[in-house]
């Protein structure tokens, strides 16, 4: 396979008929598939074969879809470029020589390259929307609680949702219809979306739509990205939407709050990888702690270790109030800000990523700079809201995404608005 889009290529046939009959789907490799290895892009799980399916995978096959492979990703979902995968980086089919974005880069690339009609990714701080923007496809981050996380290997469990990719908004919405809805195996799912029809909402009708543009999310963004964003917004205006500027002062602190919370949750969630019940084993010389520490030294890559250690630090005695508690305050503030802005607008719009896709290898040395690239996507996860990234055009031949954010369980509204563009 070209471009390292898949970690494992394997056909999992779906039911004979159903809403996704005849459709092929790429599934991010942190979503469990019974009998097919699920690596999370990590040496730690290089040989791990789940004994059960994630809820979204059962729903896919029941709906008639054929899964064509497990898509490449940043290790355990930690990254913005898909370069931290133990199995190598994925090239961007829409901009060769550039990263596909992360962490669901393989999933977005599969759709962009035509290797699959649709794909599933997971979005903890933008991991569906970023690769959608960089690869010129559509990606949806659902409201927290809309899609079951049963069978998703947890990284930042209070933030992440499985989300669909498609070439068009309607395609992605069809996939969302299949995976959305409550699940008695995931007590954090809610029933609000059980009766929704997302594909039918893709009418392209934006007449009278009120769009809020948060000024903070345009400051500091690349000039060409901002220009492309305004052009796309102009298209929505031409079709009857109107926009006004809004201010979200809290988003200035969203990135640090996001990383403190996500790393803290990661340090806890990834404690299960001890090389005893599954995963890379460090060998049995020495006691549990020594072999455990050796298995994790060998099994985890740099970015994963960095986040586990920083998360452990942030939760350790003496630092909990300084970092974690403050981050939770910031999270509450972000939620409040969004509620206020959405009381005076139907949706909020911004560039999905403040920059066009990096060149491969360009960004690896400075983790802090890379974290800052998530400035426009992470506030949405902190606020548990839904968002969609839709292609807005190009700058210097590189794809630019436009992000729309809506109220909780407002996916139909987002899909209707975004379908005016793709």
């Amino acid at each position: 396979m070209s471009d390292d889009i898949f970690i494992t290529e394997e056909r999992i046939e779906g039911a004979d008929d159903g809403p996704l009959a005849g459709k092929t789907v790429a599934v991010k490799d942190n979503i469990s598939t019974e009998g097919v290895r699920t690596t999370c892009g990590s040496r730690m799980l290089e040989d791990y074969v789940p004994p059960y399916d994630a809820t979204v995978v059962s729903r896919l096959t029941e709906a008639g879809a054929t899964i064509v492979g497990k898509a490449n990703m940043d290790e355990f979902g930690m990254g913005t470029t898909t370069e931290t995968s133990y199995f190598g980086e994925t090239d961007n089919p829409a901009a060769p020589g550039h990263v596909p974005g992360g962490s669901s880069g393989g999933s977005a690339a599969a759709v962009a390259a035509g290797e699959a009609d649709l794909a599933l990714g997971s979005d903890t701080g933008g991991s569906v929307r970023c690769p959608a923007a960089f690869c010129g496809v559509v990606g949806i981050k659902p409201t927290y609680g809309l899609v079951s996380r049963y069978g998703l290997v947890a990284y930042g469990n209070s933030l992440e949702q499985i989300g669909p990719f498609g070439e068009t908004v309607e395609d992605a919405a069809e996939l969302l219809d299949v995976i959305a809805g409550s699940d008695d195996r995931d007590a954090t799912t809610r029933s609000e979306g059980d009766d929704a029809n997302y594909a039918e909402a893709a009418t392209g009708d934006v007449d009278g739509l009120s769009i809020g543009v948060p000024t903070e999310l345009l400051e500091g963004a690349d000039e060409g990205v901002v220009e492309t964003f305004w052009k796309a917004l102009g298209e929505l205006e031409d079709r009857g939407a109107e926009y006004h500027e809004v201010s979200l002062p809290s988003v200035e602190h969203a990135v640090e709050a996001y990383y403190v919370i996500a790393m803290s949750e990661a340090s806890s969630n990834l404690a299960r990888f001890d090389g005893v019940r599954y995963g890379h084993s460090g060998g049995y010389d020495g006691n549990w702690n020594e072999t455990f520490a050796r298995a994790r030294e060998e099994g985890f890559g740099d970015e994963v270790k960095r986040r586990i250690l920083l998360g452990t630090y942030a939760l350790s005695a003496g630092y909990h109030d300084k970092y974690y508690k403050k981050a939770q305050d910031a999270r509450a503030w972000v939620k409040q800000d969004f509620d206020e802005a959405l009381s005076e607008a139907d949706v909020l719009a911004s560039p999905t990523m403040p920059v066009p896709p990096f060149e491969l290898g360009e960004s690896l040395d400075d983790p802090l700079q890379l974290y800052l690239a998530d400035a426009n996507t992470v506030p949405v996860n902190l606020a548990d809201l839904p968002a969609i990234s839709v292609p807005a055009g190009e700058t210097d031949g590189l794809p630019v995404g436009l992000q729309l954010v809506g109220p909780a369980f407002g996916e139909e509204r987002l899909i209707r608005a975004a379908s005016a563009l793709a």
Binding site: D47, Y48, V49, P51, Y52, D184, A187, T188, S250, H253, E256, A257, Y259, V260, S267, A271, D274, G275, V276, R277, Y278, G279, S281, Y284, G286, N287, W288, N289, E290, T291, F292, A293, R294, R296, E297, F300, D302, K305, R306, I308, L309, L310, T312, Y313, A314, S316, K322, Y323, K326, A327, Q328, D329, A330, A332, W333, Q336, P367, L368, Y371
Partner: protein
């Protein structure tokens, strides 16, 4: 860099708490990076205290028996097993 920037000893200590061995190169690299990242996290001090409208409810389900994984399947990924159990290293 602030006065309480993280030292190599602290990185080693946290790595021990997290059960992740690090080699010397990694300790050096992380020490520098953690100083930058933690200094950035300190801007959280500017966040005002915010009332959280706690809208939380416990989710309960009936305590009914359900099928679970067969033990063979549950053991299928373990590097070592013995008599239907996971086999691990000594605890101490």
């Amino acid at each position: 860099m602030s006065d309480d920037a993280v030292s190599p000893e602290e990185v080693r200590h946290v790595a021990e708490l997290a059960r992740v061995d690090l080699d010397d190169d990694e300790v050096d690299r992380f020490t520098g990076q953690f100083a930058d990242i933690l200094e950035y996290f300190e801007t959280l001090d500017e966040v005002p205290e915010v009332d959280r409208d706690a809208d939380l409810a416990n989710v309960m389900r009936p305590d009914e028996e359900r099928t679970s994984l067969e033990s063979e399947a549950a053991l299928g990924n373990a590097p070592e097993t013995e008599d239907g159990y996971f086999k691990g290293p000594n605890v101490s």
